[in-house]
């Protein structure tokens, strides 16, 4: 694939978009698919859950709507509160996706904040990396633990920008910068983005990508927001690469010539 400022390389594979999207909270599968198409995302997250056992035969399957031949399916461990449950879930996911190694690890600490349980996250990451998984990991915006996850062998670290599903945006840009400046693997903001400007801010900070779900699914018009997010991630990346002008806190600087004014 030709190199583009908008492509993202994770674990040696290059993807066309730096925007990753979740597939939860949509009205139906048709809206899910249309929103994902509008977002331009290639990597899409899914959850792994018990199937119904016979009650609803012929129930549509998400992977028929989002075929693995067209999208990179990123199974997550959302809802897991222990390393053991997360590892078990991803083993099932790998079987489900026919050996696919890329996954999203998240081990939650409490159901109110959905903040990550970092000791369990680190433990699960060690096991998964040893078993050959390519782990993209949801984590606290803690530069030390983000580095530990990288050293374990995670292929991307994904700190929260604010709480999952909160839409509160980038609450601690300074910690994100510390993580980005120290990282040798891609850093993606995962969770907290509420609107397009939040995604742009994340990318301007130097993030390699953004993962979001609720900001699109719970917008009044999800397809329009998906399109806005695509542009925001691209605009933020371009602005980061362009390098912003220095801030001048106490002096203005006119953009027009100060000489040649009429009547002078």
């Amino acid at each position: 694939m030709p190199s583009s400022p908008h492509s993202l390389t994770v674990a040696g594979t290059t993807y066309r978009s730096r925007l990753l999207v979740g597939t939860g909270k949509y009205k139906d599968f048709a809206e899910t698919r249309a929103a994902i198409d509008a977002s331009g995302a290639e990597i899409v997250t899914v959850a792994i859950r018990r199937t119904n056992i016979g009650q609803n035969d012929g129930e549509p399957n998400l992977l028929d709507v989002l075929p693995p031949s067209q999208f990179t399916i990123l199974p997550n461990t959302a809802g897991c509160y222990t390393a053991a449950d997360a590892v078990r879930t991803l083993r099932l996911a790998r079987e489900l996706l026919e050996g696919h190694a890329l996954c999203k690890l998240e081990v939650l600490g409490d159901p109110t904040s959905l903040f990550p349980n970092m000791p369990e996250t680190l433990k699960a990451a060690e096991t998964l990396v040893k078993e050959g998984f390519e782990v993209m990991v949801y984590c606290a915006d803690d530069p030390i633990q983000a580095k530990m996850l990288e050293e374990i062998g995670c292929v991307a670290v994904m700190p929260l920008a604010s709480l999952i599903g909160s839409g509160m945006g980038i609450v601690n840009p300074w910690n994100l910068r510390l993580i980005i400046d120290n990282a040798r693997v891609p850093v993606l903001v995962d969770a907290g983005v509420g609107t397009a400007s939040d995604a742009a801010v994340a990318m301007e900070l130097g993030c390699d990508g953004v993962l979001m779900n609720t900001a699109i699914a719970h917008a009044r018009a999800p397809l329009l927001m998906a399109s806005a997010m695509k542009k925001a991630v691209e605009a933020g990346r371009e602005a980061f690469l362009a390098g912003r002008m220095p801030r001048k806190y106490y002096s203005a600087d006119p953009s027009s010539p100060t000489t040649g004014l009429i009547g002078s």
Partner: protein, 66 residues
């Protein structure tokens, strides 16, 4: 024979394999993964894996999620 499938108890009159269970539940050919007593049963072994009384079976699918 009693199996605990996705946390629900089900009775079966005769022994069966994982493949036969999947067929009985109308999941044959669908995108599922099966775990038996905490261990993955690879798709290639569904046909030869006999289930035993008291086995705990999990059958999962991909669903929408972030």
């Amino acid at each position: 024979m009693e199996l605990l499938i996705n946390g629900e108890s089900r009775q079966f009159s005769s022994p069966l394999t994982v493949a036969e269970l999947v067929l009985t539940l109308n999941h044959a050919g669908k995108r599922i993964a099966v775990e038996r007593n905490g261990e993955i049963v690879p798709r290639s072994r569904h046909g030869e894996t006999m289930l035993a009384d008291g086995d705990r079976v999990e059958i999962v699918v991909a669903v929408g999620g972030g």
